[in-house]
Symmetry: C2
Subunit: 460 residues, 2 copies
């Protein structure tokens, strides 16, 4: 930083006014992160109220050589928004929903709009945003775009990237790139929007999004089922997709280790099924009519029992039933309470390799850290496992190695949905080849030649 | 070209052998394009048999400063593969399907594999490639990727970009970037695959693709319906999506101008519905069970009649019925025979603006070129219209202006699915802003600094 924080703040106040710049204790109280928040770390928080103000902030910081960390809801889990020595650029004052068009099924909104507000606006027009996750009350659209957020509905609706029709982005030097588009079909050159999606604030600041919504399904039916083998878990998904013409909207697999811990041991739930099955699947299917959805789904589930894919099942008949089933899957606090969060991993791999991978990992853990506990759940249809390990907290680097090292040979990924941020950047090479990283760096160099945007994220 | 074609061919023969290099009449007979093919124009056609041979061809051409035009099936419609003064790099000898995995629903194949062969391989594993178009018998996966191909199933399965999990690409200098991934969820840096998809051969040569398939629906039901107003066309789509939980897999709208010409005047079909309706919609829905799909769809269609969205309908009960309905929608030869192909446009725009746009265009044509004929059909759910104009063939530039000029103000696109190529490059500015084009150019510069890949495509 060529100027100290005080000088930078003074210059930014000329651009944004007093309300647009936080310093001192107003900045110091800010935190980011999930279950165990950490300080944001910025001496200066810039809060522009418009795209042109974002442009001016970036032009100023670019000229001064001050690093800028774009800040959404601060709910990321990989340290992508910690801003020590940088100006944190928060979009929190840009939260207008400009348009919801039911014919084109598109929502156009400022990047600072909170997910839940966007979901409600879409629902009001008979649409489904196609994205949902636990942080819906604070995560902002811009942050969801910058991190290519996933969640429970990916099997039906894709990752955030697949929802984005167009973006308005401000580049490091303050150039406003208006790429707001509303059409699914627009083959006019490079897909700049997809490049910014998932770039974690390193290529530009997203200021406005055009979000592709889905038709809102009139009805969903939910069931928790016991599944006897991993092969049956895979076969069940295929059979469900076939029987419902591909309208499975959730397929959350809990290994017995997870169900035992969360549904039974924690004492926080009434276990809906006996704890004697190797796998439990929480699944949801969309239907076109609410009048017979429950009945039709129960029929499908009975066929799955007859086919041997399912040994026991509970179908939710009320909203309360449904919530009780989801409460088990979503009870991350119970998991964190029992095992801590230091050794929580978000990985993906081909489905055919999962059983072997987990068996090898379990053996390696038992050998190196006897008595450690391996708890697994995940979005199986997307190849995404959440793996939490209890015990060897003091040996995080060694455990990282045990978890990550086998993934490259399997074609797996060290980060399925959480991203790289600062926390995983040392491991990027495990999932990306040298030529890939070289191409990424050349794009970074082309768009942010002085490296002021979110330095330290993705790359060393 | 620093060496003449003869010298270049000689050097490439050392790399690829005689079978790998075509010159003289073997090269001269090659054509590209759709209904009216044009000469490929290359003096040298390089036909590598492996990724490492592609790499060597590019390294050689890069060193010699020889432009390279990547060539797929040559079925594009915007002059993206004409190769005058360049080496045409054909992937036709790379056509191995490496893997079809039903659990991950992924197909991994060489770029030279023809679409139909990939569709058949996927179907054999119970999967649906999610892409289909008229050129399926010759279009290659690499070309479909490079052009971000669309087609009739986009409403259900998205454009090609949404099917691509990972790509192997060779850069201009011969660097092989192995980005083959198989997971829907892999948040480890920039989305390089999406950048190459739709880049029309200007950033790299796609050599291998990992294609995300969909579950194959057990049954489809098809109907042709008469619709009384444009508002009803829009309402019908929303109602169908709701009633079927979003499993509408085709929604092809034919304006009366199209139906009159193709179904009636051409004498090539037995009109399944009277020619007295302003709109006809050919729609298809996926169902989970073949036993009752027809019956359930007929029920849905009856409800649409009751709701006033539909005035008349034919539901296909046999494969022959279905084919007869699609034959009308797909009878581009009848259209070309009557109107020529010079004035055929592929545009997109917000649905709410379509009626006004077409009415204004009709008036402008009638005023400037009295008696000219405007025929319209399209993939309405995707905002994509195909507009063909008969009459003022000798005034193509003026007609281009009438068709394209209003699109910018509507947020429309001059190319919905066909791309820019060389044919539309002068019009790129109508759909992309100067900052967007500047970003595209900076990416082009970063990946192909000497501009040897498909020069003249996209940019002047």
């Amino acid at each position: 930083m060529t100027g100290g924080p005080t000088e930078v703040a003074a210059i930014l106040r000329q651009v944004l006014g007093d309300v647009g710049v936080l310093t001192g204790s107003d900045a110091a109280v800010r935190t980011v992160g999930g279950a165990e928040p950490v300080p944001l770390g910025a001496d200066v928080v810039a809060r522009p109220a418009s795209t042109s103000e974002v442009s001016r902030v970036l032009a100023v910081c670019s000229e001064l050589g001050v690093p800028v960390v774009p800040l959404g809801g601060g709910t990321g889990l990989v340290g992508g928004a910690t801003a020590h020595g940088a100006v944190a650029l928060s979009l929190e004052r840009m939260r207008t929903i400009h348009e919801v068009d039911p014919a084109d099924r598109v929502l156009v909104a400022d990047a600072g709009v909170v997910l839940e507000a966007a979901q409600e606006a879409a629902a009001g027009a008979g649409l489904d945003l196609g994205l949902d996750l636990g942080a819906r009350g604070s995560a902002q659209l811009g942050g969801l775009v910058a991190t290519n957020a996933g969640g429970n509905g990916v099997i039906r609706h894709g990752m955030t990237r697949q929802r984005i029709l167009g973006l308005e982005v401000v580049l490091a030097d303050g150039t406003v790139v208006d790429g707001i588009r509303r059409m699914v079909k627009d083959n006019t050159g490079y897909d700049l929007a997809s490049l910014f999606v998932g770039s974690e604030g390193t290529l530009g600041v997203v200021t406005r999004v055009a979000w592709r919504c889905s038709p809102r399904a009139p009805a969903k039916a939910t069931a928790l089922v016991s599944v006897p083998t991993f092969d049956a878990v895979v076969a069940l998904l295929a059979a469900l997709q076939t029987a419902t013409a591909g309208t499975v909207s959730a397929y959350e697999v809990m290994w017995r280790s997870f169900y035992d811990l969360v549904a039974v041991e924690s004492g926080r739930h009434r276990p809906p099924l006996p704890a004697d099955s190797p796998f439990y699947v929480l699944t949801e299917v969309e239907f076109g009519s609410s009048s017979d959805a429950g009945e039709r789904f129960a029929e499908v589930v009975r066929a799955m029992v007859d086919a041997g894919h399912v040994t026991d099942a509970v179908v939710a008949h009320t909203a309360a039933d449904r919530e009780a089933l989801w409460a088990i899957r979503d009870d991350i606090p119970a998991l964190v309470g029992a095992l801590g969060i230091r050794l929580a991993y978000d990985i993906s791999m081909p489905i055919a390799t999962m059983e072997g991978y987990l068996s090898d990992l379990g053996e390696a853990l038992e050998e190196r850290f006897p008595g450690s506990r391996l708890v697994v759940f995940g979005h199986l249809g997307d190849g995404n496992l959440h793996v939490t390990i209890g015990g060897p907290d003091e040996h995080a680097d060694e455990v990282d190695e045990l978890v990550y090292a086998p993934l490259a040979a399997l074609g797996g990924s060290i980060s399925a949905e959480h991203g790289i941020g600062r926390v995983k950047r040392a491991h990027l090479r495990r999932s990306r080849s040298d030529p890939e990283i070289a191409v990424m760096r050349s794009i970074k160099q082309a768009l942010d030649p002085h490296g002021i945007l979110n330095p330290g994220v993705l790359f060393d």
